[in-house]
Structure formats: structure tokens, C-alpha cells
Amino acid sequence: MTSPQTPDNARRKFIAAAGAGVAGLGFTAIAPGLHLMAVGEANAAPTPRKAGEPANPAVRWGLLIDANKCAPGCTKCIDACHTENGVSANLPDPRQNSQWIRKIELVDRRPGKTRGHVTQLPMMCQHCAEPPCVDVCPTGASMKRADGIVLVDRHTCIGCRYCMMACPYKARSFVHAPLNDQNPEVPRGKGCVESCTLCVHRIDKGQQPACVESCPEGAMTFGDLNDADSAIAKRIASVPTTQVRADLRLNPGVRYEGL
């Protein structure tokens, strides 16, 4: 894997230690040991959950997006998201197309050396720990799963769009027209509000979100924010990261680097 991330010295030391003397702890075979190390890679796939097991409340899935790596004009994450989730762009009115993820361009207008600097970043549902969409939902359709993923239960959504008003990130879309090309794993239909699900169907299978996998720059890191040993938690602990609209104290699960 050619990850453009800076070498993780702690991990290298750990590999050396594993080679030197951890064999006594049970890591007798080096090949599985090396495979184990791969879990510590920048984009580690989550372990698939066993059948019949509910989402783990000890886990909190999150994303870390490096805005410095996000290339101008690249829409790979958007295309991958929309292909994966069957979000088609062929509604009668293009303004009504759903938008699970979008690119934002920020231009620095402040006087000084950074004037004119353009920052790119993908914006989607921030999977807040205190989601305002869940607070305002009159039917309980807007919900947060035990592992921190914010979802819409379309079975109970009445399409009132109150959550769209409440979301400070403009992350949710309303489906205006009947659909017939849904992905069997991602049901979606007219009259319901929808947003990024963090590819919950992929996470449950032990895969990463489609956007993370598709990013050619490796700008997105997916992982468990609660696990101090995960790549994402280590990165957040070691570099300055930003929560968008941190003033609202929603504690988003999507963090940005280089903003």
C-alpha cells in the first residue's frame, strides 16, 4: 500500500520490537504478525461484526479528512459515494438531486500572505455525538446508532424536513421523486430525508466507507475515535485537527486537518 502519510515511527519501533522479542507472547509466526501490523495502517478496515451481534457502544466511528491533501477539481469521493449508495443524478429537476457528500472550496480573503489560498474539503453528515437532527425529529426517525453513526429510519420518517433545518452542516437531502435504481443494501425512496450513512452496510461487513477507499490522495482516514491505538485517534492526538462549527459543541465524528 502506497500511503502518502508520513512514516509512523512509533509503529516502526513496534514492528522492530515484534521481530526482536515479542515472539514469547504468542506471536510466533511473523507473517500473521505482519498482517496484524497492517491493521495499524492509515486506513484500517473495521472488523466485521458477527451475525446477530448489535453495534458496539464502545466504538465510535469517525473520519479524519486532511484538507491539504484534497485535490482541487477531484470528485472521486462524491462519485464513489453516489455509485455505492445508488444516488442517481437523473431527477427531473437537477436542483432536487440528493447530495450525500459535496466538495467545499474556501478562499482566504484576509489580507496577508495567505490571501487567495484555496482550501478544498469534502463535507457530509458529521455524525455528531449530540446530533441536532435527532433532537428535533418529531417521530424518532432520526437516530444515532450505538457506534455513533447518525441514520434516518425511513420506516418512520414522515418527510417533514425539520432535521434539514436543524443541521448546521446542510448535510441532509430530501428525495422528491420516485426512485427505482436503489442499491439492494441501501434502500431509499421518495418522501424521506437521507444523508451520509458512513456506508453503514460496508462497515458492518468489515469494509471502509466508499469515499475513504476511493480517495486517490489518501486524504481520508476512517476508524474508531474511542480506540486510542487506532490510526485516526493517534493522528488526532498528534496533529491539530478542527471540528467544523466547534462552537456549537456537537462533537462531530468527522474531523478536519489543515483547515
Binding site: G52, A80, T83, Q182, D204
Partner: protein
């Protein structure tokens, strides 16, 4: 006040008269019509024709599935979506995989599994407003 009381006292009488007036018609109808037929014995409405792509063993006997499939699916959907439990024996996609038509690949459409029975029972079928009715369907979405 007096007027209202008068209306109340007259009301049952009116009703009696109107019912009594129809009794001869009702008796005549009974006398003329042949032995009554009821829905369910298959003589008045044709039983739905059901084509199953992959016939075989379902997750429960047919009688139980007929009576309880809606409850099974309803409870499963809540467990899967809200609690995140995957890999249960009851899944809508599982139903579609076996029961979709071989010709159209769908459970919807005339003569196909879900729709023909729901049309027979006159029960509205809402699942496929959102769920994909075709087996093995690949979403295309936006072309990258």
C-alpha cells in the same frame, strides 16, 4: 326544547319504518340467489398464480410465513437498523433472492411473488417504495 324532544322520539320510529320497508326485498334476494359463495374457497376469485425462481425450503413453514411474514420483517428491520444486528435469517433481500421471478428478476409485477398475493388479499405493499424489488440488482448511480 320541545321541538328537539320531538325529533328524538320520532327518530327510532323512522329507523324502524325504513328497515321494515326493505325486508321484503332482502327476502326476495335470498330466495332468488343460488347457494351463497364466499371468498376463500377459490370459486369466486382466482387464487394468485405464484412463480418462485428458486423453490425449496423457506426459513419457516409456508403457513407460518403466510400469516407472520409481515411481523417477522417488521421486527427484523428495527433490530437491523436501530441496533445494527446483521445476518438474521429474516431479511427482505433474502426473500427477494429466492422469490423473485426468473423472467423479470423481480418480486413485483403481475404473476410475481409479492405483488400477486398482495393484490389477491387487497393489502397495500409499501416495501418497494424504497427497497429494490429485483434480485442481484446492481445500482449504477452516477458514472464516475
Amino acid at each position: 326544547m320541545n321541538k328537539r324532544e320531538a325529533i328524538f322520539s320520532a327518530f327510532p320510529l323512522c329507523l324502524c319504518v325504513s328497515v321494515v320497508r326493505f325486508v321484503p326485498f332482502a327476502l326476495a334476494l335470498l330466495a332468488v340467489s343460488p347457494a351463497p359463495t364466499f371468498a376463500g374457497d377459490g370459486t369466486r376469485t382466482d387464487k394468485p398464480v405464484i412463480e418462485i425462481a428458486k423453490p425449496g425450503k423457506c426459513i419457516a413453514p409456508a403457513e407460518e410465513m403466510r400469516r407472520n411474514h409481515m411481523d417477522m420483517l417488521k421486527h427484523q428491520r428495527d433490530r437491523t437498523l436501530r441496533l445494527g444486528i446483521r445476518g438474521e435469517p429474516v431479511t427482505l433481500n433474502g426473500c427477494i433472492e429466492c422469490h423473485a421471478s426468473q423472467k423479470t428478476g423481480s418480486v413485483l409485477g403481475e404473476g410475481n411473488f409479492c405483488q400477486s398475493c398482495h393484490a389477491y388479499a387487497a393489502v397495500k405493499l409499501d416495501c418497494f417504495e424504497c427497497h429494490q424489488p429485483k434480485a442481484g440488482f446492481k445500482a449504477t448511480g452516477v458514472k464516475p
